[in-house]
C-alpha cells in the first residue's frame, strides 16, 4: 500500500528548442518589441536625430516612463489609477510653493503617498471600482491644483537648483534620467525579487486564491496605489524642475502616454500579467516616436493623434480581445462558407 509508484502526469520535460519556445510564449512584451522595432526603423530612415540627440530622447523616455512604471504596479493588480495626471499637477504646484526646494520635494512626495492611500481606501475599504474612484480623484485634484496655484503657473523661488537639475550629473546623464533608471531598476527588482512585489501578481492573477493562501490582499492594494501616487508625485517634481515653474494644468498628456506605454508593454488590464520591462520598451518606443515626430516638425496635435492610435490599437489587441474576435470571425466564416443542407 505504501509503495511509491511513479506516475506520468502529462508533464513533458522539453528539450532546448522547446524551452526556448516556452520562454517566448511566457513573455508579455511582444507588442512592445514590435512597436519598438517599427519605430526604430522609421527613426533610422527618416529621423536619425533621435539617436544623435539622445539626451532629448532619454529625457522624454524618463518622463513617459516614470509615471508608466508607477502605474504598472497598480495595473498588475487589476486596478487602474487615472488620478496620476492630477497628482503630477498637485505635487508640482505644492513643491513650487515652498521656498526651500528640499522641503518642497519632501512634502510633494508625501502628498503623493497620501493620495495613493486615499485611492486605495476607496477601492478596498469602501469597495468602489478603481476606475471611478480615481476618476473622481483626478477631477478633485485638478481642482485642488487650481485652488492652490490660483489658476496660474507657480514660479520656483530657487531657480538655480532647477537649472542644476537639468545638467549632466553622471557621465552624460541628467539627474532625471538617473532617477528614471533608478525607479525602473527598483521596480524591476521589486516585482521580480521582493516578496511583496511578487504577491502583486497573485493579487491580480487570482485574488480569491491569494487571500485564501494568506496573502494580505488589502495591504498589497494599498502598497500599489501608494507606489503609483509616489512615483507620479516624483514625475510632477521633475517636470516642475525642468520648467522652473509648476503648471496646474500639467499631466493631461501623461495620462495618455503612461497608459499607452503600460498597455503596449503588455500589462494586462485585468491584472496578473506583464512586466516592467514591457513598460520600459513601450515607453521607449513612444519616446522615440514623439521626439522623432517633434524633430520632424510634426505638430503636437498630430502627435496626439498618433499616440492615441497606438493606445487604441494596443488596447484592442491584447490576448483577450484577440480571442473574442477570433471566435466571432470563425462563426462568421463558417456561416458564409458552407451551404445550407436544406437549401
Amino acid at each position: 500500500m505504501t509503495q511509491t509508484a511513479t506516475l506520468d502526469l502529462g508533464h513533458e520535460k522539453t528539450d532546448l528548442i522547446g524551452r526556448v519556445k516556452t520562454t517566448f510564449a511566457r513573455r508579455t512584451e511582444g507588442r512592445a518589441v514590435v512597436l519598438l522595432i517599427a519605430v526604430l526603423i522609421w527613426a533610422f530612415i527618416w529621423e536619425s536625430t533621435v539617436f544623435t540627440a539622445y539626451q532629448v530622447t532619454l529625457g522624454r523616455l524618463a518622463l513617459i516612463g516614470l509615471t508608466a512604471v508607477g502605474l504598472t504596479a497598480v495595473i498588475l493588480m487589476g486596478e487602474l489609477d487615472l488620478s496620476i495626471a492630477s497628482i503630477l499637477a498637485v505635487s508640482g504646484v505644492v513643491m513650487a510653493s515652498f521656498d526651500n526646494v528640499v522641503v518642497g520635494i519632501l512634502v510633494a512626495l508625501a502628498i503623493g503617498l497620501v493620495i495613493g492611500a486615499v485611492n486605495a481606501f476607496f477601492v478596498v475599504i469602501v469597495g468602489i471600482n478603481s476606475f471611478i474612484a480615481t476618476l473622481g480623484m483626478l477631477f478633485f485634484l485638478r481642482g485642488l491644483a487650481f485652488v492652490i496655484s490660483d489658476g496660474k503657473p507657480v514660479t520656483m523661488a530657487n531657480k538655480d537648483f532647477a537649472l542644476d537639475f537639468g545638467k549632466p550629473l553622471l557621465g552624460e546623464f541628467t539627474p532625471r534620467v538617473l532617477i528614471f533608471i533608478l525607479a525602473f531598476i527598483t521596480m524591476q527588482v521589486f516585482l521580480t525579487r521582493v516578496r511583496v512585489g511578487r504577491e502583486f501578481y497573485a493579487v491580480g492573477g487570482n485574488r480569491e486564491a491569494a487571500r485564501d493562501a494568506g496573502v494580505p490582499v488589502r495591504r498589497r492594494v494599498f502598497t500599489g496605489f501608494m507606489i503609483s501616487g509616489f512615483v507620479a508625485a516624483g514625475a510632477g517634481i521633475i517636470v516642475t524642475l525642468q520648467l522652473t515653474a509648476a503648471d496646474p494644468t500639467a499631466g493631461g498628456d501623461a495620462l495618455l502616454t503612461s497608459f499607452a506605454a503600460a498597455i503596449v508593454g503588455g500589462i494586462l488590464l485585468t491584472g496578473g500579467r506583464g512586466s516592467v520591462l514591457g513598460t520600459l520598451l513601450g515607453a521607449a518606443s513612444l519616446a522615440i516616436l514623439q521626439v522623432g515626430m517633434t524633430f520632424n516638425g510634426i505638430e503636437s496635435d498630430v502627435q496626439n493623434i498618433i499616440i492615441g492610435l497606438v493606445l487604441f490599437v494596443a488596447v484592442i489587441t491584447d490576448p483577450n480581445s484577440i480571442r473574442a474576435v477570433v471566435g466571432s470571425a470563425r462563426a462568421f466564416l463558417r456561416s458564409r462558407s458552407a451551404p445550407d443542407p436544406a437549401g
Binding site: L9, G10, G205, E208, A209, A210
Partner: protein, 516 residues
C-alpha cells in the same frame, strides 16, 4: 437520528482529537447552510465528509479552514480555539485546505505557488533558494516531480491538482482538508493520490476527505460523517457500514425508489439534433444525435468535457471542427453561431445560473421577456401588457414561488431562480432544449418540479439533452446515456440497462465499458 450518535462519537474521540468542531452554525442571508454540526478528527485518521450537492460540506470545510466565520459554535485545533475569519491564522494553526476549484496563480511558477502567502524572505527579498527547497521538499513528500520554474498556466489539470496538494503539505499542517480532489483525475492518478493520502495519515496527519465517490471513501477512510441539508446525520466507522447504507444516509431515502421512478422510454421521433466530429477545447471529436421526444443524458466526471461539448455544439463557445444541424418539421438548419442556434429553436440552460443564466438585478418578468422579446414587441417597442401576461403564465407553469414576477430575480432562492431560467426558455417553445446541471444547488422540492417539467417537455415532443453529475437525476431522466471521458464518448447505455455502477465505471475508466 442525528443527536445521539454524534454525542457518542464526540465523547469517544475527544481525548485524542486534533481538530474539533462544536455546534457549528453558518447562515447566508436567511439561509442556514450548516446547522449545528459537530466533528472531531484524530491524528492519523482519514475522515470522510459526504453528502449530496448543497448538503453543506463545502461551507463546513471553509469554516474549519478559518475562511468563513461561523455564526455559532467553535472550532478547536489542538484544544485552542481557531481565530475564525482569517485564512492565514488557520494555516498557522496547522489547518491546510486543498480547494475544489484550483486556487493557484496561473502566471506564477510552481515554486512560487507552493510558497504563496508564506514566501521565505531575506531582508524583504524572496529567498529563492529557500523557496525552491521548500517546494522541492513538499513535492518530494508527495512523490511528484515537476519543474519548479514552470508557470502553473502551462501544467496539465492533474498536475495542478498535485501542486495544490504540495502547497498544502508545504505548510507542515497537522490537519489536511481536501475538497473533491479526484474530481478531475484519471483512475491511475486517483489511485496514486489515495495512496499518497494514506502515507500522509500514517505519518500522523489528520485528514478530512470530501468526495462523492463512495469506493474511494471505503478504500482509504477510517470514519465518515454524513451531512444532509446542512444537518449532521451520522458519524460512523467505515468498517461498520456498507456502501449502499452510506448512500441511503446521504440521500435520505433508498436508492431503489429512484430506480423505480425511471420514466417509460418514449417512442423516438425524428432526429432533431445531429452533431458530428465536434472538436473544441476539451472536446476531442464527438458525434451525437437527439430525437424528438427523447431525453439524452450526458454522464461523466466533472471536467470530462460535457459542458464544453454542448457549448461548442451550439456555438456558445468556439468550436474548432464539426458540423451541427437542427431539423424541425423537415427543415434542416446548420448551426454556425449561437444566435443561429437560438433562431433554429434551441434553448440552452447553462451550468452557472447566477453568472450565465439570469440578470439578477432585473425582474423575473424582464428575465422571461429577454429571449422572447421579438414576440413581445412591435416595431421595436415593448408591449408591456403582453409581457406581464406572458411572464405570469410561464411563472405559473413552472410553479414560481412566490409568484411575484415584478421582483428582482436575485431575491429568489436557488430553486426558484432555476425555475425562472426554465420559464424564459419554455416561452420559446423550443424544439431542442439543452440543460446543464439543471438542479445543482436547488432544494428538493424545486428539483422534483424541474424534473417534472423536463419530462413534460419531452412528452410534448421536444428533443432534450441533459448534462448532469447527479447520477440519480441522470438515471431518472434519460432514455439514453452517453458517458463522456477526456472529451470523448466512451460508452452509451440505454436507460433500462444503466445504473450508477455502470455509468460510474465508464466515467472513471476503471473497467472497460461495454459500449452499446
Amino acid at each position: 437520528m442525528g443527536a445521539q450518535p454524534r454525542s457518542e462519537h464526540e465523547r469517544r474521540s475527544s481525548g485524542a482529537a486534533i481538530i474539533e468542531a462544536h455546534g457549528i452554525v453558518k447562515r447566508f442571508g436567511g439561509v442556514t447552510a450548516v446547522d449545528n454540526v459537530g466533528l472531531a478528527v484524530s491524528p492519523g485518521e482519514i475522515h470522510a465528509l459526504v453528502g449530496e450537492n448543497g448538503a453543506g460540506k463545502s461551507t463546513l470545510m471553509r469554516v474549519l479552514a478559518g475562511i468563513l466565520r461561523p455564526d455559532e459554535g467553535t472550532v478547536l485545533v489542538n484544544g485552542e480555539p481557531l481565530s475564525a475569519g482569517s485564512a492565514k491564522s488557520a494555516l498557522e494553526a496547522g489547518v491546510s485546505l486543498v480547494h475544489q476549484e484550483l486556487s493557484l496563480v496561473p502566471e506564477m511558477t510552481v515554486a512560487e505557488n507552493i510558497n504563496l502567502g508564506f514566501t521565505p524572505t531575506r531582508a524583504g527579498f524572496t529567498n529563492r533558494r529557500e523557496q525552491r527547497r521548500i517546494a522541492a521538499e513538499a513535492l518530494d513528500e508527495i512523490n511528484v516531480s515537476v519543474d519548479l520554474d514552470e508557470p502553473i498556466s502551462r501544467l496539465s489539470v492533474a498536475l495542478r491538482q498535485f501542486v495544490e496538494i504540495a502547497r498544502a503539505v508545504a505548510r507542515k499542517p497537522r490537519i489536511l482538508i481536501l475538497d473533491e480532489p479526484t474530481a478531475t483525475l484519471t483512475p491511475a492518478e486517483t489511485a496514486y493520490l489515495l495512496d499518497m493520502l494514506q502515507r500522509l495519515a500514517e505519518r500522523g496527519l489528520a485528514i478530512i476527505y470530501i468526495s462523492h465517490r463512495i469506493p474511494e471513501i471505503f478504500r482509504i477512510c477510517d470514519r465518515v460523517t454524513v451531512l444532509r441539508d446542512g444537518k449532521h446525520v451520522e458519524t460512523v466507522d467505515i468498517a461498520e457500514i456498507r456502501p449502499n447504507e452510506l448512500v441511503s444516509m446521504m440521500v435520505g431515502r433508498d436508492l431503489e425508489q429512484d430506480l423505480q421512478s425511471h420514466r417509460e422510454p418514449a417512442a423516438p421521433g425524428e432526429v432533431v439534433l445531429s452533431a458530428s466530429g465536434i472538436r473544441a477545447a476539451g472536446v476531442n471529436g464527438i458525434d451525437l444525435t437527439v430525437r424528438a421526444g427523447e431525453i439524452v443524458g450526458l454522464g461523466g466526471l466533472v471536467g470530462a468535457g460535457r459542458t464544453e461539448l454542448v457549448r461548442a455544439m451550439i456555438g456558445a463557445d468556439i468550436r474548432s471542427a464539426g458540423d451541427v444541424t437542427v431539423a424541425v418539421n423537415g427543415s434542416v438548419r446548420r448551426i454556425t453561431s449561437y444566435q443561429s442556434a437560438i433562431a433554429s429553436g434551441v434553448a440552452y440552460i447553462p451550468e452557472e445560473r447566477r453568472t450565465d443564466g439570469l440578470a439578477l438585478t432585473m425582474t423575473v418578468s424582464d428575465n422571461i421577456a429577454l429571449p422572447n422579446r421579438r414576440r413581445l414587441s412591435q416595431n421595436g417597442v415593448l408591449l408591456f401588457g403582453r409581457i406581464a401576461e406572458f411572464a405570469k403564465r410561464l411563472a405559473d407553469e413552472v410553479g414560481l414561488r412566490p409568484p411575484e414576477i415584478g421582483r428582482a430575480a436575485g431575491d429568489f432562492s436557488g430553486g426558484n431562480q432555476q425555475k425562472v431560467v426554465l420559464a424564459k426558455w419554455l416561452g420559446r417553445e423550443p424544439d431542442l432544449i439543452i440543460l446543464d446541471e439543471p438542479t445543482r444547488g436547488v432544494d428538493v422540492g424545486a428539483k422534483v418540479e424541474i424534473h417534472r417539467l423536463v419530462k413534460q417537455l419531452a412528452a410534448n415532443g421536444a428533443a432534450v439533452l441533459v448534462v448532469s453529475s447527479d447520477l440519480p437525476e441522470l438515471l431518472e431522466l434519460s432514455d439514453v446515456i452517453h458517458v463522456v471521458r477526456d472529451g470523448r464518448v466512451v460508452g452509451t447505455l440505454s436507460g433500462a440497462e444503466a445504473d450508477e455502477q455502470s455509468v460510474m465505471s465508464l466515467a472513471s475508466g476503471e473497467t472497460t465499458g461495454s459500449a452499446a
